[in-house]
Amino acid sequence: MTPITPEIIAKHGITPDEYSRIREILGRDPSFTELGVFSVMWSEHCSYKNSKLELKKFPTTGPRVLVKAGEENAGVIDIGDGWAIAFKMESHNHPSAVEPFQGAATGVGGIIRDIFTMGARPVFSMNSLRFGDIRGESAEARTNRRLFAGVVEGISHYGNCIGIPTIGGEVYFDDSYAGNPLVNVFCLGILRHDQIARGGAVGIGNPVFYVGAETGRDGLAGAAFASRELTEESKEDRPAVQVGDPFREKLLLEACLELLASGCVAGIQDMGAAGLTCSTCETASRGGTGVEIDLNLVPKRETGMTPYEILLSESQERMLVIVNKGEEDKVRAIFEKWDLPYAEVGVVNDDGMMRVREGDSVVVEIPARKLADDAPLYSREAAAKSLPAPLDLSKFPEADCAAALHSLLSHPSIASKRWVWSQYDHMVRLGATVLPGSDAAVFIVREADKILAASTDCNAIYCLQDPREGAKIAVAEAARNIACTGAVPLALTDNLNFGNPHKPENFLQIREAVEGMAEACRKFDTPVTGGNVSLYNESPAGAIDPTPTVGMVGIVEDAKHITTQFFKASGDAIILVGEPGDELGASHYLLAVHGVKAGPPPKLDYDKELAAQDAVRKLIRSGLVKSAHDCAEGGLAVALAESCMSGDTMLGATVKISPDSSRADVPLFNESQSRIIISVAASEAPSVLALLKKTGVPALQIGTVTAEEKLEIATAGKTFSWPLSGLLETWSTAIPSLMRG
């Protein structure tokens, strides 16, 4: 027996207070194995001990919510006609920093399991990625390129192989992520209301089955690992990296869906972080029961594994299934059909204990509910709030705006992401009706005959400058992207990526972002269905910019409404819904051209935003809108350029904006919110403008779509004319040329 010393306790990330609590729960000292079990269950990753009190601020209910956030592995939302969707976002930041390909791949595998555990067939994925700067020849830039390439390849490998299309996402590059990339993956599944599967160990005497990959010494204590800062040292004591096997997962997915349809299942739970430990104590806790398993029966890949290693292993592609007694043979037949390893490893009982045996000896005996749900919760100290100083524009002279547009379009965060999404199979399952490259992805879910729109969003510069405003805007932008496709937002999932919560300035960011996001969710009527918290995202250089990512889903009522961001025909009128705007704070223009993150982010006015989104959606539904694109990073100029060149055929535009400002960079590149560029047939323009006026939404015709391949913008007394071929070259080659070789 390994003696429990203060060093060992500390090594497990357990504080002296927590240790006394463990002793209180057990009425004795824990064994070494039990200490390991507590350490993973009470890690931030599993218990959300530093963030739960904040997460309670999110709205989680609504008429469409069938399963609430936190109740099960993923929330479930009604989409009508007896159909529902389950979706969630999950991070795999730290594993991806150590091994980008496998880290990202297993992240995809994990989120997919969360979805089919709910009884839903996964139908599409998205991903939200952040890396350090990939430009230049420094060692750091090269590392960042390697991470970027590896992560994209890992996602592509896993998603393509399992046959779930990756239809959208986002990628940003910023120094703050050097050494600590963010890899947030999203998956959505479809199910009928009566197919919702639960993760509770119910039915005393029901057998407990283990199915899927054999357990090895993979990712030992990965949950604890995700709950620490990445230091040079942690790169050395790397836990054995988990390797994903998408082929196995595909079999597991099909077998589980068949199993759930068979009615043999009382409860089901995937083994994610903290593997067997988490799945046994959580199912027992949810079921209000106890679960007893025998480790000797667990299929293993390696010999000589200790109970500690088996319980904490994070081998991928495994599930725990609680089977209705008497149905064991049916269950075995399904596992055998799909050639999956499985074993009956235990039983549900009524004593509320998580009891783990190794043959005849009991190695773990812990009250399951206390372990799963009674982790200590902390409200950390938050620094005093300080608002960013107003932007002093005089410090940033107007740049050569003709060149500035090229700088923006070639900035990796804004440049075309085709290099990324062409590596993803986005067309499998016959759903991708709006391909990547427009605002939100639009997907036909064939089994339900429903059309969904989905988008991931977060502008971390805004969040750095003002986490509350930035988080609000993340929600607003996601909703706006969805509105631009003709859809109504339904609900969202989030992934809160922050630094070490023990640092008051970081905790302030968390609190501000959560409160901002919660408020925006209420305003946009999009409850939070679940999500993930990833803290301790720091490299030796400091914390990442706060990155509360949003993954939002909406529904398109009629295929006729589906709208894309590209201009459609020359002669069409270009209408700006919203005001020209003038906020340059926290803009990509300041970053890409002046090299600074400065000033407050643009202000979000909920009423204006909601009115603009509603108005555009109404116009789309009346069949008047040919294209709709929101103004985001890089402002009006970038949005117009994208509308000209991101479609199948290039179309030019001639635009005039009369600003209050004498500077051209303000009207061209400001990032004021609540703006959408639409194009409509010229003959419809007056009535569209009249309709907008009637609803009180500011709008004006700013120009015309032209057949001539150039973008011409007249503003502040100057006229800029960019040949589209040049803009396209800049925008489309930026990432491929950096990634060559």
């Binding site: 082929f247 067309m427 009706t433």
Partner: protein, 227 residues
């Protein structure tokens, strides 16, 4: 005409193929499990795309030994139409039902996109609903779709009119720029000598619905129905 859509462990375009075929009048489709040994009652076989056996070892290398493949060989030998799409094409090559092999894309990346394909020979059971020289817009999605065969085989394919589809540009030119994977002579699809086995890397089942941007894939399935 009843279509059998094979299901190997790791197939992932099986559902798409069944969906697309069932939407075509006169082309009902059903699944056939890899452990099955009979194709009785079916008039055509589709070997769908995906990652059979994870594409481990080589694409299609393990699937080739599935019980059902013996029946597929017999079915093909008796003249029944067999079409292999993407991973299905790889399986047919590995099985020896089609000549050549598919190797890693020269760009090393997986590529998913719409491509233009030139119909090289419309006098076949798989292309007769199109015209020779017609350009079809059908998506590809593969990491190992670079068609390779030795010179002698290529010459034979050419002489016998076995090359049915080539990657081309919008004007129908088969230049190297538009070759998405490095395939020899821009080959995207070939048939066997007897004319009843066809393999292609593009996914016609993904181009059968206007909401997906193209309906050119229908030409392939309709050709099978007509012959």
């Amino acid at each position: 005409m009843k279509f059998a859509v094979l299901r190997f462990p790791g197939s992932n375009c099986d559902q798409d193929c069944v969906h697309a075929l069932n939407a075509i009048p006169g082309a009902p489709a059903d699944y056939v499990w890899h452990k099955d040994t009979s194709l009785d009652g079916f008039d055509a076989v589709v070997v769908p795309g995906g990652f059979s056996y994870g594409d481990y070892l080589r694409c299609g290398a393990i699937a080739r030994f599935s019980p059902i493949m013996k029946s597929v060989k017999e079915f093909a030998a008796s003249g029944g139409p067999v079409i292999g799409i993407c991973n299905g094409f790889q399986i047919l090559c590995e099985s020896g039902l089609l000549p050549g092999a598919l190797v890693r894309n020269r760009g090393l990346h997986f590529v998913c996109k719409h491509v233009s394909l030139r119909v090289e020979n419309a006098a076949s059971r798989f292309t007769n609903a199109a015209t020779t020289g017609q350009i079809l817009n059908i998506p590809i999605a593969h990491g190992e779709g670079c068609y390779f065969a030795d010179d002698e085989t290529l010459l034979r394919l050419q002489t016998n009119g076995q090359v049915l589809l080539r990657y081309c540009d919008a004007q129908g030119r088969t230049t190297d720029d538009v070759n998405p994977n490095g395939s020899r002579e821009n080959i995207a699809g070939i048939r066997n000598e007897a004319g009843n086995v066809f393999g292609l890397m593009p996914h016609p089942e993904r181009a059968c619905d206007p909401l997906l941007g193209s309906t050119d894939g229908l030409a392939i399935f309709q050709s099978i129905l007509q012959s």
